[in-house]
Structures are given as C-alpha cells and as structure tokens.
Amino acid sequence: MTLSKSTSTRRAPVLAVYATLVFAFIYIPIVVLIAYSFNRDGVGGFPPRHLTLDWYRQLFADGAIWDAVLNSLIVAAASVALALTLGLLAALALDRSSFPGKALFRRLVLLPLILPGIITGLSLLMFAVFIGLPLSLGTVFLGHGTALISVATTELFAGLQKMDRAQEEASLDLGATPWQTFWRITLPNLKLSLIAAGLLIFTLSMDEIAVTFFLIGRDNTLPLEIWGRLRRGITPEINAISTLIFVVSVALIVIWYRVRTRGLGAEATRSS
C-alpha cells in the first residue's frame, strides 16, 4: 500500500475510498441476501421486483425449520452451561494453581479454536464410534460444549487477571470460607466476563457446522437443516431464515456491546 506524499496524515482520500470499497465487499452479499428474501420471483435476476412477504409466511409454516431451531437452541444452551462451568474451573486453575501438564492443558484446550473444524469433528466421531455412543443431538452437544471450553477459558482467564485480588483476600481474612468467597466475591466480579463469554459461545454454537456435520444423528440443528436444503436447490425461504438469523445476531451484538460498555463505565467509576 502506498500513499501519495501530498496527502497529509489526517486526510487520506485514496485510502478512504479503498476502505469504503472493502466495506462494500463485506456488506453487499448480506444486503443482497436480505433484499431477495422479499423478491416474489425467487433468488436471481436483477433488479429484485414484486416485493412480497410470502417467503416469510412459508417459513413460519415450515415445521421442519422450527424443529431445527429448537434443537439448535437446546444444544446451544446446554453447550453454554457446560463450557462456562468447565471454562470457569479451568480459568481458576490456570490463574491460581500449578498442576502437572499445565502448559499442555493450556495448548490443548485452545486446539478446537485453531484447528480446522473437520479435524475436531472427525476425532470426536471416531471417539463416539470407539466407545459405542450413538450419534444424536447429545454427541453434537458434546462436540460444541467441549470445543467451546476454549472460548470460556480465554474470556474468564482474562477476567480473573483483571480482577482485584484484595477483595478475595479480605473476605478470606475476615473468616469467610473459600466457598462463600467464591459465591459472594469471585463470581459477582466475573459477571461481565461470564455474560460476554456466554453470548459468544451461544452464537458460535448456533452457527457451528463443520464439527456438527460429523456428529449429527437423526435430528438436525438449524445450520444442518439449511445445509440439507441448499443441496436440493435454493429458494428465497432460505434467504428469509438467513435474514432472521442476521437480525438475531445483530441484536445479540448490541446486547453484548451494551453489557461491555456498561462494564467499562462501572470500572471507570470504581477506579476514579
């Protein structure tokens, strides 16, 4: 990337145009997707005309999609519970104790995040077959919950590192048991990290497809249901469900963002 010398540090018109184009590349597919969910004549053709809500009506009457949504919600909620519980314990362990294999554990727990999903998915498939576990939503939950411990551990470990340790020490000195200290001091202090990690895990689980692909039984999750339909051909009904997923995702980010800024605000007041 080169900048012409005449442009000042503050103003960079060439760069601004370039950045706009990158934004266009990122957003045009999403805009197209949403626009065609209202197009009576289906996906394709230009420009979209004859606006209609028919595809949404069709979507709301589609039982299979809503079953899949329910399955996804169950798997995501269970994965959040599992990953947060184990992630919290792991973060506490990494933060304040040394145990054999600590370095290995730290690397291992992150692997599902860095390795391509197919590797984790197939490894768990082989494991399920090896111990004779039939594939079902249960195996999908096992995969999601286990893979996402990484996210919970990273978020919560960061939260613990930022936490003021004096409060816990004071609580223990004043005669509270470690158990009381955990529930009354540690956990409330980690509230924001827990919410942020929970939301992230929830979204990632709702969207997961590479690992799920190999662990799915008879009942589909939403992404797998959509995937199955894509292979049969494309209809604006998929645009409609995608648009709804997009809207829900954006809503979740706004909540997440609110939680975070409020947290930062609280931190600022506390430290001033």
Binding site: L3, L15, I119, I245
Partner: protein
C-alpha cells in the same frame, strides 16, 4: 493462599474432561492413521501403509497443492483488504473509528453458512451478478465460470476471513506508540518511509497472526468447496470427508487428516516464533 482441596476441585474436572473428550479423540485420530481397513472392517494392525498410499497417489498430492494455492490466495487477498482497512481506521478515521470498528465486527457474528449461501446466489449462472450484468447490458449471456470454480471458493473464503485478519492487525496498529510515528515524521521521513520502516514492522505480529489464521482455516475448509467450489474446486478436506463417508476408508482419511494437522501445527509454531522476534518491547 488457596488450599490443596480448592486447587484440585478447580483443576481436576476440566483436566479430566479435556483429557477424555479432546486429547483421547485426537489421539484416536492419530492411531487410526496407522491402522487398516480389510473387507470393510477396521483392523487394529500397526503399519505405515496409509502414508505410503497417500504419497504415491498423484491425485492427493495435486489436491493438496491446489488447497495450499487457494489458502495462499485467500490469505493474500484478506491481507490486501484487511490491512489497509485497519490502517485507515487506526490512523485516519478520527471520530468515526469506534462505529467503523463495530461495522467490521458485525459480519463476524453472521453465520458462515448464511454468507456462503449469499455468494452462491450472487455468483450463480442465473444469479444476482449475472442478472445485473445483463440488466446493465454489459453481457448478453450468463457468465458461467463464476460459480463452481476455485475462484468462487477464494471469493467466499476471502469474504469470511477478511474481518478475522483485520482484527489482530488493527489491535497491533492501535498499540503502536504514536510518538514513534511522529518522531519519524519530524525527523523528515516521508509517509512512505514512516510506513515501511516504523508502522509495518511494528504491526508485523498482528499481520502474522491474521495471516496464519486465515491460511490454516481456509486450508481445512470443506464446506466452501461443497457449496460453491464444484469439482474443480475440491480441496484436501473434501478428500478426508469422502474417505470417511462414501469411500469408507477411515484409516486413510485419518492419515490425510494427520497431514493437515501437521501442516497446521508447523505453521502455527513458525508464526509464533516470528511473532516473538518481531514483537516490540
């Protein structure tokens, strides 16, 4: 300050869980790659046959090379899009910085599948782009090469990984102490020299992190080729997937997976080493 009991209560459950449901499965994958299938049954007999087969089959080598080329193209394009964007936001966006940053983050939360599907509807021969080209009288017949080609895979994966590449680069740029940039300019260096000798080297750790991430995850992708790649866009993970599915040769599939895993781990540790060397103290 923490008792032994506390320490074992917090460390044992995650250790056991991760050992049982992560380490053991990965180890099983490794073990499978040294086993065999005979008459449709898995035989637990240790040997190197799968690796021989893999290296002797020109198809696998060819697909692996194509996969690396696609992953390299995705990495390069994501950097070409993500770096200038991060640079613009960090140094020139002014008050709109926070908003624009959020705008890059939003698509990260939008379903992989949804975005892949969007490209499928755009690039198809009766898709949106062809519709537009004919509407604008640029072409008179649908252009067929857009979908079901390595090109489509590269476009889709670049779209997915550009925000991922942007993030660490932006973080690195934000961490550059501004007095360093000002000092370089005060001492008479041109914009270009300042960029090449101060900003670029200091953002190298972020650039490497983003690039490794994009390369590794594109290399192991099997969904994009299935969705938009067609036969000419087949990648190495699709071979794994078919060996585990229709072809039913898990040991051979495991061997190919182990190769992907080894390439991944090598790249990650190389990147880590370079990041350390480049990081600013």
């Amino acid at each position: 300050m923490y008792s032994r009991a506390y320490k074992s209560i917090v460390s044992l459950p995650p250790l056991l869980w991760v050992g049982l449901f992560l380490l053991l499965p990965y180890a099983l994958m490794f073990a499978h790659s040294f086993w065999l299938v005979r008459d449709g049954f898995l035989v637990h007999q240790w040997n190197l046959q799968n690796y021989h087969k893999l290296l002797a089959n020109p198809l696998y080598v060819e697909v692996l090379l194509r996969t690396m080329r696609i992953a390299a193209a995705v990495t390069l394009l994501s950097l070409l899009l993500g770096y200038p964007l991060a640079y613009y936001l960090s140094f020139h966006a002014g008050a709109r910085k926070e908003l624009l940053y959020q705008l890059v983050i939003v698509p990260l939360w939008v379903s992989y599948l949804v975005r892949g599907y969007a490209w499928k509807t755009i690039l198809g021969s009766d898709g949106v782009l062809n519709g537009f080209l004919q509407y604008a009288h640029i072409t008179h017949e649908p252009v067929g090469f857009l979908l079901y080609s390595p090109f489509a895979v590269i476009v889709m994966l670049t779209h997915i990984y550009t925000p991922f590449v942007f993030l660490p680069i932006y973080a690195a740029l934000e961490h550059i102490p501004r007095p360093l940039v000002e000092a370089s300019q005060d001492l008479g260096a041109s914009q270009r020299t300042t960029f090449l000798r101060v900003i670029l080297p200091l953002s190298m750790p972020g650039l490497l992190a983003g690039a490794t991430f994009a390369f590794v995850l594109s290399m192991g992708d099997f969904l994009a080729p299935l969705l938009v790649g067609g036969p000419s866009g087949t990648m190495i993970a699709n071979i794994v997937q078919s060996l585990f599915g229709a072809a039913y040769d898990w040991p051979l599939g495991a061997a190919v997976s182990v190769c992907i895993l080894l390439i991944t781990v090598t790249l990650l540790s190389l990147a880590e080493r370079f990041e350390k060397r480049w990081s600013f103290k």
